[in-house]
């Protein structure tokens, strides 16, 4: 069954594809594959990976927390001197979030949950999810799940497009 949004001009997939292809062509033009040294290969791989992430984040713009966080990370990675400030900001954000989460948990445990359903039961997985999803540290669970869903969708798009590109290239 055809997915109709493939053909839409403004869909996430098309936006990501165009951006990523442009970045790829830039990378390849910058340094054609003539050398075979592993380091250069690795560098190229890193650049391509960053290009993929960047294209995806740019396709989403700032509509999503994870895209904003990812763009921030990519920008600060390129600019080393700002990384300290951003890392401290992120850390303080995380600290605040952890504190509020703990407070919430304490509050929830004191107030009786009538249905017995645990609103705060899955802390370990929650933290893991926060680490995985970019920008997930500064969100409560509800928003985090939202972001995760959108992130998953974008990741699947990314993987699909990259697969097709790779297949196309290697044919």
């Amino acid at each position: 069954m055809y997915n109709p949004d493939h053909t839409k001009p403004g869909s996430l997939k098309s936006r990501f594809t165009t951006r990523f292809l442009r970045a790829l062509s830039k990378i390849h033009a910058h340094k054609p594959i003539s050398s075979s040294s592993p380091t250069e290969m690795f560098q190229r791989y890193q650049r391509i990976k960053a290009a993929a992430d960047k294209s995806m984040a740019y396709s989403v713009r700032s509509r999503r927390t994870w895209s904003r966080a990812m763009l921030w990370k990519l920008r600060t990675r390129s600019c080393g001197r700002r990384s300290v400030k951003t890392s401290t900001i992120i850390k303080s954000q995380q600290a605040i979030m952890k504190k509020t989460r703990h407070e919430k948990q304490n509050e929830n445990t004191t107030t009786t949950a009538t249905t017995g359903e645990d609103g705060v039961g899955f802390c370990v997985e929650e933290d893991e999810l926060r680490e995985i999803v970019p920008g997930g540290e500064a969100m409560d669970l509800c928003n985090l799940l939202d972001e995760t869903a959108h992130y998953i969708k974008c990741l699947t798009t990314q993987v699909q497009v990259m697969k097709k590109i790779a297949d196309f290239y290697s044919l």
Partner: protein
């Protein structure tokens, strides 16, 4: 609880799809009205962007995107907006046949589900001006154009109000929705040649409402009136009447047209009960919950009319909670009448005589269910839990193979694993792309985009394009550079090159394998190879590489 109502909703909506995409001529008026009415400037772009591609999938997704992009400008609504965006895009992608009235029930239901959710979120976030009712069939961007034209819209809007349980209560704009619905309900509820009533009702609502909304409602009314005469004789129309009249009642309250409102209310309440009785056999897929819920809600409505203080909140909640609880415990005659508002809402206790509604409703109106604690803390907690479970369900749909998983912890584990696997796949693919030499001569972007937007079986066809021969010749000179590669991937690539360009041609191994299997095979071998000495240990790598060749790549026979 929610699922049951959703099912009802889905099934009914399915039948509405056929009549959704009509009255494109109305959309123009709607767009103008919409543009004028919108308080938030980004929204004005949406109607103008919206071509009359009603029913076409391409339009909807782009509209969805632009629509949602406008939504995201509201920082306060990021949460629900996010959900909305996901839903929108997912819904659009999964079953865009929504607009084409195709697709099996299962897909429809899931897509409706998401689009429904999307609609709620959209409504909550944006419809401060009461402009857009959630078009629960999911083609939200088309909803502006369809609103005046959609007789099913009213039913959906009504269903929205009734369906709106605790999980969505925050998304209800009690002002926005009822106001716009008021017009519809007036127009359609009194369907038998009541165009005059429409006009009157429209005018009434216009007078009672802010000028922004009034324009919208007037256009809606006119458009709706025209279309109501056209779209008739559906089984749902009595159903809709019921809904509309039901929402008409509390929408009247919201619009603060007590004079006409109260009169109409009593009429509509009665008619709704009557219609509800008739509708029961005729309702296509509604369970017994609905009519009973409506009956209950109508009773609630009458009571709430007298309740001035909680006028506004109850107006939106009573049908909502009535329907919800009706679904849970059918025909619960005696309801828990204690409305527990959030503490914040009490501060805003609107009296029945307010002049103007605030365009923004930021507080969560929650009603305590029967037999549950009415503490505001536990209420908020309950709302939060429901939201979380709602999103978990949605994630369950996203993550493949999670339908059987029950329990949040396991579900979260699955989600985490899936996200990690996706991230690893991206890494692997970028590594693969780093090693593959791109074809320099052909129009890569054009070909690729064409390819990518084809179905999955598409890429195999490209293997036989005439460009290949040119590209292979190009690749050939670079082969020597690739052969001594120490990387496992490089070794792979070199092998591949040698095999395709060299003396022996490998016939296509069982046709073009499923990309999934392909990438998985690649991923596995690559990961295991990478775990070994990176860029060293050539013999073991090459062994690995050679062993993987038959399983992995599909060769093109030159």
């Amino acid at each position: 609880m929610d699922v049951g109502e959703k099912d009802k909703f889905e099934l009914e909506k399915r039948n509405e799809n056929g009549i959704n995409y009509q009255g494109s001529g109305m959309s123009a008026a709607w767009q103008f009205a919409g543009g004028g009415n919108l308080t938030s400037t980004p929204m004005s772009l949406v109607p103008s962007d919206n071509p009359l591609v009603i029913g076409s999938s391409s339009g909807s997704a782009s509209m969805v995107d632009s629509f949602c992009s406008n939504l995201w400008e509201h920082p306060s609504n990021s949460q629900s907006l996010g959900f909305c965006d996901i839903n929108v895009q997912n819904g659009a992608s999964s079953s865009n046949a929504m607009g084409i009235t195709k697709g099996g029930p299962a897909s429809m239901s899931s897509s409706i589900d998401r689009q429904f959710d999307m609609a709620w979120n959209a409504a909550s976030s944006m419809l401060k001006g009461g402009m857009f009712l959630p078009n629960a069939t999911g083609i939200l961007p088309q909803s502006p154009s369809q609103l005046p034209a959609d007789s099913a819209f009213i039913e959906r809007a009504a269903k929205f109000s009734s369906f709106n349980g605790g999980s969505f209560s925050e998304m209800v704009n009690p002002f926005g929705i009822p106001e716009s619905m008021a017009v519809y309900n007036r127009g359609v509820g009194l369907m038998q040649g009541t165009q005059n009533v429409f006009a009157i009702g429209g005018l009434k609502s216009v007078s009672g409402v802010e000028s922004q909304k009034s324009k919208l409602i007037a256009t809606e009314t006119s458009g709706d009136a025209c279309l109501k005469t056209e779209n008739r004789a559906t089984q749902e129309s009595p159903h809709k009447n019921e809904r509309r009249s039901e929402s008409l009642v509390w929408s009247n309250e919201e619009a603060r047209q007590e004079n006409g409102g109260s009169g109409n209310e009593s009429n509509e309440a009665e008619s709704s009960d009557g219609v509800g009785g008739q509708d029961e056999p005729s309702a296509l897929h509604s369970t017994g919950c609905e009519p009973s819920a409506k009956g209950v809600s109508s009773k609630k409505r009458r009571r709430s009319i007298q309740d001035v203080e909680t006028d506004q909140a109850k107006g939106s909640q009573s049908p909502v909670d009535a329907a919800k609880d009706g679904a849970e415990n059918q025909q619960k005659g005696d309801r828990d009448q204690s409305t527990v508002m959030n503490k914040t809402t009490t501060k805003h206790g609107k009296q029945g005589s307010q002049a103007s509604d605030p365009p923004k409703e930021e507080y969560i109106h929650v009603r305590a269910r029967r037999g549950q604690a009415t503490n505001s803390h536990s209420l908020a907690e309950r709302v939060r839990r429901e939201k979380i479970s709602e999103r978990m369900k949605f994630l369950q749909d996203l993550v493949p193979g999670c339908s059987k998983v029950t329990g949040k912890a396991v579900m979260l584990d699955e989600i985490i694993n899936y996200v990690q696997s996706l991230q690893r796949q991206v890494e692997f693919l970028s590594m693969k792309l780093a090693t593959v030499n791109p074809r320099l001569d052909c129009n890569i972007e054009g070909l690729l985009e064409k390819d990518i937007f084809k179905s999955r079986a598409g890429p195999s066809a490209l293997g036989f394009s005439p460009d290949l021969s040119v590209c292979y010749t190009l690749l050939h000179p670079s082969q020597p550079g690739l052969v001594p590669g120490g990387l496992p991937v490089m070794g792979n690539n070199a092998d591949f090159m040698r095999r395709t360009l060299g003396s022996h041609f490998t016939p296509m191994a069982g046709g073009f394998k499923e990309p999934n299997q392909l990438s998985n095979a690649w991923e596995d071998e690559l990961h295991s190879a990478v775990q070994m000495n990176y860029g060293a240990g050539a013999p073991s790598n090459s062994q690995e590489v050679n062993g993987s060749q038959p399983s992995g790549h599909a060769e093109v026979e030159l």
